[in-house]
Symmetry: C2
Subunit: 186 residues, 2 copies
DNA sequence: ACCTGAACACCGTTCAAGT
DNA sequence: ACCTGAACACCGTTCAAGT
């Protein structure tokens, strides 16, 4: 006689995301997730392989959301404006979901996101980089701007800017100079 | 009758660094450190307050080492060459000690490095940034280049560059363009 | 088919007892 | 003064037993 399902993979992942953001990576325990969806911890193993698998599923979910934000942002058709919109959306996402963001760029113990997820998330940035720096330099140009944006935001979130000064001003400075740097040929 | 000391804070921190690099952050357990220095786990609490404190001590040690590397690198007096040397030293450190590097830029649960450590580590980059971008823009310019370098290296170490292409070429591209971008006034 | 309690092998940390 | 075993409150995970 089958026992009725009390939860679902979708609910488990959603609860995981909520707990990740509220309690941090270390607070994301199987027991807490289980309680949140109304079962005991062992039952979670009917939905996910293990904690690493749950984290990977959360990761895919977060990546999809960031990709949607970026795709929505880069629509002006004017490359410099698109780059600014992409950077702003990127930073906004990180500020709104710091723990999810950190997870996205953390070294992945178990495989990380699937290749398709990576490609889809890179698309808008690559298009804008190509428009600014030329098709031949699109990949290194995209890597330069993403490296800058990720480095800036992750240092900001980690509290690494501790010499005073205006952090927003440094962001604007970097964005302005980088935009210019990608445009100019060397 | 005092029991003879079997270890020291210095030895505990050194063992911690070795284990961190070999076993990763999660493998850095009190039990493993204790075994490495020849005592049982409870004895470590005579040397460090708790695991967070041990991590903070390791962090200070790692920061001092990176700072020394950077100070040694930026000595040519020619700003563009110094920037290249700083970037190369920074990336080299991260490649040689990936786990220590990740710790350095991770959000710090317990306080993080002391302010003096931060200031000393920023010095060489700030001087070079001032020489390139002018004293008024030194801080945002330094933040831009460190954000780029950290973002690049951390993505590289996390395996986030998964669209093929030459990663070294992207590093060179970014360094060249950024150097130029910091020099040009806006 | 899914859920559960019990169990196992780990953690970090505390503390009384030894020397 | 430092070291130790025992203990506590947690983890993730497995599994036999329930429905």
């Amino acid at each position: 006689m089958p026992a009725p399902a009390q939860t679902s993979m979708t609910a488990v992942v959603a609860a995981g995301r909520r707990i990740l953001e509220q309690e941090g990576h270390d607070g994301l325990t199987m027991q807490r997730v289980a309680t949140a969806v109304g079962v005991r911890a062992p039952s979670l193993y009917k939905r996910v392989a293990d904690r690493g698998d749950l984290i990977r599923l959360i990761l895919e979910d977060v990546a999809r959301e960031l990709t949607d934000d970026l795709d929505t942002a880069a629509t002006s058709g004017e490359p410099r404006q698109d780059l600014r919109a992409l950077a702003t959306a990127f930073r906004g996402f990180a500020h709104a979901r710091p723990a999810a963001y950190a997870l996205l760029f953390a070294p992945h113990t178990a495989g990380g996101p699937r290749q398709g997820t990576i490609e889809r998330s890179s698309d808008a940035v690559l298009r804008t980089a190509a428009a600014l720096a030329g098709a031949d330099s699109a990949l290194p140009a995209a890597r330069t701007v993403v490296a800058w944006a990720h480095g800036f935001v992750s240092m900001e979130l980690a509290g690494a800017f501790r010499l005073g000064g205006d952090v927003d001003e440094a962001w604007e400075f970097g964005l302005r100079r980088l935009t210019h740097a990608l445009e100019s040929s060397d």
